[in-house]
Amino acid sequence: MDYENTQDGALVRRVQAGDQAAFRDLVERYQSKVFSIIHGIVRQRNDVEDIAQQVFAKVYFSLAKFDFRSSLITWIYKITVNECYDYLRKRKVRKLVYESDLSEDEVRRVENTEPSPGRNPLIDAVLAKRDYIVKLLSRVSEEERMLLMMKEVEGHSVEELAEMTGMNENTIKVKLFRARQKLVKASQRLDRLPSVAAN
């Protein structure tokens, strides 16, 4: 599908021609979706807006490269997920630097990993699953991560993914297969799949 002649395509053309009001329209159109993707991955409510701001800045400054072969939302989706992973990577580095100055006991207290009787085991199970899948997804490429999330989190079919990305269905299937194989290998390395029975 040629996305140049869609409503989004016209909006992108206006932004590419330097129309700032068009970019503002684009932000308003996609801000809720971007917030939702970010919150799903990082769960730090306080940081969602900062990350979203980074996402839209990246969208703005790279919109010149947008070639209309994929849908705008696919493109924004990929930038958003990448930005979340950047954030998680930076947070991990910050945490490692910070923790290197603390004793083991202090680290445990900071992380609040000690079992607390007041915690909801169901919420803990969901958080454990989220952390686990976030970790697994860090082992695949940006494109594979985007395809897997569009399929499994957003619920798009292979046919829809083909249309949204401009690839053919067979290519999407092969890419998904390879990505799933990588996840299996990564999970074998991590070697502790949280019980799905906790559903």
Partner: protein, 163 residues
């Protein structure tokens, strides 16, 4: 994983009952495929944990803040301009222009070095420009503007127009 499962993987994960006979028969006889498929299915069940069940609304002035943050980043704009020029077919044109501009600079520098001993030409000389720059009030803003102006000049320079 065998081809018959690989080809039907998405169907097998979504709804095995709707899948073709050949794939289902293979799973009965091939333990390796059955195990790998089960592992993939378990991993697929983890994805809903990434769904945002409690939507958060963007702050009322979020879009305005984004616009402000963009306007505050002129240097990033130039970086992205360069990046986009190098990353697309424009890259070749861009390199041609930079190469041509560099050659012009080299040629004029060579000409200057050759002529500076023999004669002092009237008008604007490199010494005059450097002296003017040295005596000009030091302003970071002005310097940045000059740098940006120089980049625009280089990036938009078209050798074809000089022919």
């Amino acid at each position: 994983m065998h081809a018959v499962i690989e080809e039907n993987l998405e169907e097998l994960l979504a709804s095995p009952s709707a899948c073709g006979r050949a794939a289902l028969d293979h799973l009965v006889s091939c333990k390796a495929c059955a195990m790998e498929l089960e592992r993939m299915r378990q991993i697929a069940l983890l994805f809903p944990a990434l769904r945002n069940e409690s939507p958060i609304d963007p702050a009322p002035y979020f879009a305005a803040r984004v616009m402000m943050s963009i306007e505050r980043r002129p240097s990033s704009f130039w970086a992205s301009l360069l990046e986009s020029a190098l990353g697309t077919t424009m890259g070749t044109v861009f390199f041609r222009r930079v190469a041509f501009a560099s050659l012009l600079v080299l040629a004029s520098l060579g000409g200057y070095l050759a002529s500076t001993d023999s004669e002092f030409r009237a008008g604007v000389t490199p010494e005059l420009i450097m002296a003017a720059e040295r005596d000009a009030p030091a302003s970071e803003y002005g310097r940045n503007q000059d740098r940006e102006l120089l980049m625009v000049t280089i990036a938009t320079f078209n050798p074809d127009e000089t022919e």
